[in-house]
Structures are given as C-alpha cells and as structure tokens.
C-alpha cells in the first residue's frame, strides 16, 4: 500500500511523518453563519474548495426525480487551526443544500465531531443536520448563533425544542467572535472525548 504509516516514526526526523490532522464539520441551514464561524476561528482566510459533479446518475438516487444532467459545482469552505507542528484541526463548512448530502458522507468519514449552527428564528433549518449526526453517532454540539435582534432563548429551551439526546451540549455563541467560536470548539472536543470513552467502556462491558 502506498500510504505512509503515520505511526512509523523511524529515523525520519521530519515531523511531517507523524503529522495528524483532525476534521470538524460545521453544519446548519443556509445563511446561519457557517462560513462566518469558520472564518472567525481559522488562522487562514477560509479557503474554498470545489467538488465538480459531472458524473450524472452516480449521486442522484434520492433527489426525487430531479434531473441533474449538467455539471454542478459544490463549494465547501474550510479553515485550519494549527495546534502545534504536526497537529492541526481542519474545519469544513458543509454544503447547505440537502441534495449534496452525499458530500456529507465523505466529509464525516473520520470526523472528530460536528458543530450544528442554529438560528432560533428558524430552528427547523438545522433539523436535518441534527438527524444526520444522531443517526451516524457522530458527536456534535448545537451552537445557537445569537444574531442581534433575535429573541434570546436559553440553551435548555433549544435543547427541548430540538428534542436532543440527553447530554448533547447546546452552546450560545456569536459566530463572528473568535473567542466565542473557540469555546464552541472546546465544548465539542471535550464532548467527543467523553463520547469516545463511553463507547470504549460499552464495548468492554
């Protein structure tokens, strides 16, 4: 296999051979502030990568008969946070439209966890994302983006309204604010760690 084994430290002095990259997804409805959040915490200007979908038919099994003959370009925003040399966090804003969900499957492969951004004025927009991550048992936190002028709801109210599993953290945040964004990520990593430990215990017990 051509893959480099990341465990093999060997005599190779370059830190690259043990480099570890972790992936966090940022999901939520259209215009809820996904790119804003990625931009607020990323050390690089959010980059945009595109997936060109030219193979009609391969991905269109559940688009409800929508004829997708032409080439479609899906853009994904992403950012990076370097924790130290050889350990970085990548944030991916998931494409908003439901018909690009097959991309989520790829994105969520091996993801550490996800942030579901919610806007209390249209909470239903984040239902699909919540369903998606609950189904696949991917640890996620719900971050309520507190837009100015939006009536403030408490975390408990949002949790109830979304019918979240017990323990799923709900954080109030301001997606434009770096510290606020950092806090959301910290809560997610903590939660992902707890979920992981619990699962390990499950398999033992």
């Amino acid at each position: 296999m051509a893959y480099e084994r990341s465990e093999s430290s060997g005599a190779d002095d370059s830190a690259d051979s043990t480099a570890l990259a972790l992936k966090i997804l940022v999901a939520g409805g259209f215009g809820v502030g996904k790119t804003t959040l990625v931009g607020a915490v990323s050390e690089i200007r959010p980059l945009r990568t595109e997936e060109q979908l030219s193979r009609a038919g391969e991905f269109v099994d559940d688009t409800g008969g929508v004829d997708q003959k032409t080439t479609t370009t899906v853009a994904m925003d992403f950012g990076r946070i370097t924790i130290r040399s050889g350990l970085s966090l990548y944030l991916f804003g998931t494409p908003g439209q439901d018909r690009f969900w097959f991309l989520w499957d790829e994105l969520s492969q091996g993801a550490l966890g996800a942030v579901v951004l919610a806007d209390t004025r249209r909470l239903e927009d984040c239902f699909p994302a919540v369903d998606y991550f609950e189904h696949r048992k991917i640890p996620f936190v719900v971050a309520v983006n507190c837009f100015t002028g939006a009536r403030a709801y408490g975390a408990a109210e949002v949790s109830r309204a979304l019918d979240l599993d017990r323990g799923t953290p709900v954080v109030l945040c301001d997606a434009r604010d770096r510290d606020s964004g950092k806090e959301v990520l910290i809560r997610l990593v903590e939660y992902a760690g707890r979920m992981h430990t619990a699962r390990l215990l499950d398999t033992v017990g």
Partner: protein
C-alpha cells in the same frame, strides 16, 4: 456569446476576451485525460489527507515529463505540507481533479500521503487534551 459585441472594432468570432467570471475554459477533467478516479492503486484521498514530498523522488528528467498541473501541485507540496483540500484551493482546481493528479504523483513516487484517520476511531485522550489546551491558548 452575444453580449460582448457591444465594443468598438470588428468582432471576429473567437477573438473575445474572457475573464475569470466566464469560468474555466478547459473542462476540468481534460487535465486528467478524462480520468475521474485516481490510477490503478485506487487510493481515495481524504480531504484532510496530508501530502508530503517523497524523500527520494524521481530525477529531474522524469519531472520534466510531468504536465503543468502536476508540476504546480508538486510545487505547492514542496512549499509546505498541505492537505488535499488546501491543495485544491491553492491550485484552484476541483477536488476530484486534484485527487486524480495526486494519484499520478503518488504512483510515480513524487509524493507520499498520510493515512486518513479511520472512521469512528478517535485519537487518544492525550491528543484531545492537547487540542483543547491548544484552543484555549489561541
């Protein structure tokens, strides 16, 4: 096509200027010879797979045979270890195309690729602790 005939001077068909807004003038997969999947080894490059230049790459003679897109990717990898997603953004090429090109570079021994984190397998607690501390310190 009919919008740009407003200018002065003769409008010879095919002489129009296109800017970036017109989109790519070359179909993306033309750069890969029509291939939409990486070569025979069929590696699947994760978006966060890190691409490193191989310690013992083929010589300049072989490198000169590479296409311009291959070479620009290689140049980006040389500058700094990057993820597939970053390479795609920096090279301004769709991810699918970058994957095919990287497959070529991998097979010919120019680059190495880090193994993506296996699904549902989280790094150990020590790493997560490090991430949390690192985030706090930002």
């Amino acid at each position: 096509m009919n919008e740009d005939s407003t200018g002065v001077g003769p409008s010879v068909p095919g002489s129009q200027w296109y800017d970036a807004d017109a989109g790519p003038l070359v179909r993306p997969y033309a750069m890969t010879g029509g291939r939409t999947k990486p070569g025979p080894s069929n590696v699947r490059f994760d978006l966060i797979a890190l691409v490193v230049v191989d310690d013992d790459p083929p010589g300049p003679a072989e490198e000169s045979l590479l296409g311009p897109e291959h070479r620009s990717l290689l140049a980006l990898c040389r500058a700094v270890t990057q993820s597939v997603a970053e390479l795609s953004a920096d090279a301004d090429l769709p991810v699918g195309v970058v994957r095919v090109l990287l497959g070529d570079l991998l097979e010919s021994g120019f680059v190495r690729v880090s193994r993506p984190v296996p699904p549902a397998q989280l790094p150990d607690e020590r790493i997560l602790r490090e991430v949390i501390d690192g985030l706090r310190a930002l």
